[in-house]
Symmetry: C2
Subunit: 219 residues, 2 copies
């Protein structure tokens, strides 16, 4: 089947680009973090809170924003004084390693953490290594507690799970135990509970910042 | 570029299958409805409420459930006595017309409404015509009011928009006017407000059932 051959070729090329990215990030003393999640999972709000916490700790961060269309998210980061760059995929369902590299080279950023906010999609981004050192999925409580059972490749792919909008747990009847059992069937990744709308959120964001800080020391 | 040629070939074949499906559905006096939406948009809960309302009106319905993995959703429909069939895409990001046809032929259903619950994804399903007569997107309030600005191809593709989880509008600060302005930039489709957790939901579900009933009369 020719489409299988072509897909293998595309993914093979992506692996080469990802490898080159990894070398470049190491040279530049950059920790690259790939943030994935469904549309509306709260990736941008979580990322904003995280970047502010890292800034308080004296760690520089920059954001590469992936969206099909619009620059709504980059505008927010620019307003807050963070280096940021918008990638519009114009309909594409994921970002690949070569696209990240073009964005990264434009940013001209070194000695810090670069976050890639991937396209809102729980499927296709799990097939494209960007050369990142850390993969985080943001899973919003209103999406439901059954998602690890349904989106197995994505939930297998990540190094950490950030539960967002935890203030809505009661309102939507989210069963944390059921969610974690589904996750544990495929992945031992740590789970962080956050909510940017409630005071208790700070604890979860700080715990993620601890993880980022630890991993940045290893770069 | 070979991948572009291959994609055209795949989509060309899909168009042929979609055309054949349309003829078959007309022969069988079936209205086929494609339900799309992000992961956790509430497609299944909305669909369950809608099928029950159609049953009250004496209209038969059946459900073809698309998921990467698991049969969580089909089990619910079977329990409620509806004809249903699970399609596991095993990682694929959308359902195509030939897959729908195989499922439909197994169902052996005529003279009613067949719903296809597509894979949770706001991008790829908008590229694959299934031969359906009606396309509905379920957009959940917690996803945020900016989605029509970001997922333009999907919001252009549909015939009706069902807002779900409307009981959470206040909790998440959803701006209905902003959402509708984004939608209106690309599509004049009607918007239905629903929530399966609040009493007022019935009105929105009934309005969608009216639309389905009207379209079914035309089959």
């Amino acid at each position: 089947m020719p489409e299988v051959v072509i897909m293998k070729e595309i993914k093979g090329k992506n692996e080469d680009h990802a490898r080159a990215n990894r070398e470049k990030f190491a040279e530049d003393h950059v920790l690259m973090v790939n943030i994935m999640g469904a549309p509306g999972a709260g990736k941008t709000s979580f990322l904003m809170a995280l970047c502010k916490e890292l800034k308080r700790r004296g760690i520089k961060s920059a954001v590469i924003e992936g969206d099909l269309y619009s620059s709504i998210d980059t505008d927010e980061f620019t307003k807050e004084g963070f280096d940021s760059l918008q990638i519009n995929t114009e309909g594409e369902c994921h970002i690949d390693a070569s696209v990240v590299r073009r964005g990264y080279d434009k940013l001209g950023f070194t000695d810090g953490v670069v976050f890639v906010e991937n396209v809102g999609n729980l499927i296709c981004p799990a097939e494209f290594d960007l050369g990142e050192a850390l993969r985080i999925i943001t899973a919003s409580v209103p999406e439901g507690d059954d998602k690890p059972y349904k989106y197995v490749p994505m939930y297998s792919y990540v190094d950490a799970v950030v539960l967002t909008k935890c203030d809505l747990k009661e309102a939507v009847g989210f069963d944390t135990g059921f969610f974690i059992r589904g996750l544990r069937a495929v992945n031992e990744a740590p789970v962080f509970e956050t909510s940017v709308r409630s005071v208790e959120s700070a604890e979860g964001i700080c715990a993620v910042a601890d993880l980022i800080e630890d991993r940045f020391k290893e770069v």
